[in-house]
Symmetry: C2
Subunit: 342 residues, 2 copies
């Protein structure tokens, strides 16, 4: 029986699993960021090999393919340079790069039709049809979109604080944690050259950061308690994410809804708010065969939350090799992977 290597390569961390054709995960490894578009080929390759070596138990072993789940632009990379490096670990066949959207989707289900919504640093939704990406919405990055995700939330938190300081915006409970995080003390009333001093310091501190680092202020919006400004931000985030998912809905495609990314899986209320905004759309837009609308809508609007795309990369490794991944195989992958991670 053949064995397979599956990798979930993220921007900041990478996971790999070595598994059999029956879905039994034999080994698991982790490493740093493995995306060649954001990290550069050599650094990313090193991370991929390190996680893979961990999954193989440190010893080359024969496996017939490598399946790597990666973000968008990586799908167009030539795979030959990857194949050469994996040959040293025991690869006999090909390297296949799959979308991280598919890897996330298949971490929650073995069905070949459905929907995925991811809100981590960025936000993206996909309709999956016949195990391929049929439609993708957003995922357009921090300047053009990614509306409602981590960078967007962090930026909105900071904009709200900047506006509260000079009176453009309402007072907010977000002010104190942001100033504390940045080491800014006092000066929220005093002005120099007309400018509130704490705001001047905020400007100096924030523009010393790389823009993408603004996402680190996102979690504060979930810890702000009963604050109207924070609630407005999370409401707008949920509306944006619901809109992104709605853009890929198709009445002809039915199936599970998988949620990934920390804003949805750890963000508390956002996942629920997205679902409640969707209910009407989904009742009208999908699940019209057989089951009553009400039942169908109830099925679809209970999202499956997944932590990453590791199980899905393993599912894809088997599916693309022609192995039928039924519920039993899917459960075997999930359970044996969970055991290795524990």
């Amino acid at each position: 029986m053949r064995n397979y290597l599956a990798i979930d390569a993220g921007g900041t961390s990478t996971r790999a699993v070595f598994l059999t054709g029956s879905g039994q995960c034999l080994g698991y490894g982790v490493s740093g960021g493995g995306n060649p578009v954001s990290r550069g080929f050599d650094d990313a390759m090193e991370a991929l090999l390190q996680a893979s070596s961990g999954a193989l138990g440190g010893t080359p072993q024969p496996f017939s393919s490598v399946t790597i789940g990666m973000a968008g632009a990586s799908l167009e990379l030539a795979t030959e340079p990857f194949r050469e490096r994996f040959a040293g670990l025991g690869l006999s066949g090909n390297v296949v790069i799959e979308s991280d959207l598919l890897a996330t989707f298949y971490s929650g289900t073995c069905q070949d039709n459905g929907y995925a919504l991811i809100a981590g640093t960025g936000a993206v939704a996909a309709r999956i049809s016949d195990s391929r990406l049929a439609a993708v919405a957003d995922g357009t990055g921090w300047l053009l979109g990614d509306s409602g995700a981590g960078f967007w939330l962090g930026r909105e938190v900071l904009r709200a604080v900047a506006a509260a300081l000079d009176g453009r915006g309402k007072p907010t409970a977000l002010l104190e944690p942001v100033l504390a995080e940045l080491g800014i003390s006092g000066g929220t009333q005093e002005r120099t050259n007309g400018r509130i001093r704490a705001q001047q310091q905020l400007i100096a501190k924030i523009y010393a950061l790389a823009p993408i680092e603004l996402s680190r202020f996102a979690p504060m919006v979930f810890d702000a308690g009963d604050d109207a400004v924070a609630r407005d931000i999370t409401d707008r985030a949920a509306a944006a994410l619901a809109g992104t998912l709605t853009a890929v809905l198709d009445g002809a495609v039915d199936g599970p809804l998988v949620f990934g990314g920390s804003v949805l899986t750890r963000g508390g209320s956002v996942a629920g708010a997205v679902v409640s905004r969707l209910s009407g759309t989904i009742q009208q837009g999908t699940r019209q065969q057989g089951a009553s609308r009400q039942e169908g809508a109830q099925n679809l609007v209970v999202p499956i939350l997944v932590a990453d795309g590791m199980a899905g990369a393993a599912v894809l490794a088997l599916k693309r090799a022609g192995v039928k991944v039924d519920e039993a195989v899917f459960e075997r992958i999930s359970a044996s992977l969970a055991a290795l991670r524990a």
Copy 2:
């Protein structure tokens, strides 16, 4: 009688004027970006000297001070390095750096109390009291604020186009000019890996730009005709700018309202929309002495539009030297400067 040198140093262009104590402008010069914070000291200094030399007619002549209008952070620069370099052109006294907000304000009036709102690439408002900045709002830069100004508008235009392409947003007349500007043709329906092809190209083109370059898409919002998406963007811009100005209003301070920056002076409807949003606030918040509210509001809500801070830097040069700048002197500065520029 003493002469003075006044400079309006912007991020992309610099203007200088050589004038008498009676406000007669004798010479005018221009050069590139003269802000030491954004350009670096040496490049900025070169631009300042080049514009100054132009104003002096290419020959050193005695003048008793240099007054430079510059954006925010420059106010804290040490002036000694400037003084040494200007000595070679004929400076006998000091270099004084003034806020570009004051320079803009005094380009429209010689009164020492009032308000300025600037919306160019960034957006900032100030209350001027006794010829000093009493309160400043926004001007917090492209990540933290500058709401309603050029970068903000350009980014909103691009986000609207990205959203229209994948169905998150409404169709918009902004789509065609943005794709044409970026050289993207076709592919607004076809998908690759689920992604609309034109959107994939949009992503590639936009992230190859420096973020601040997004401001070049701002003017498209004013050329979109009767487009609901464009109108929503300009409505939100006007609301944000009105909010920024409202944050510095003080019932105790009365005086002229000066508008600067291309979004207000060349943006067509935005200045009017800001004013109409302000009317209620101003009637309630200011002008309560003597004149009826209605008359007061009408005076205040007719903004004075100015192209830059050149005349204001000249006004400041005289004021800071103890020269009384009355209406006659102000008119002399304005008229003689206009003649030199013609």
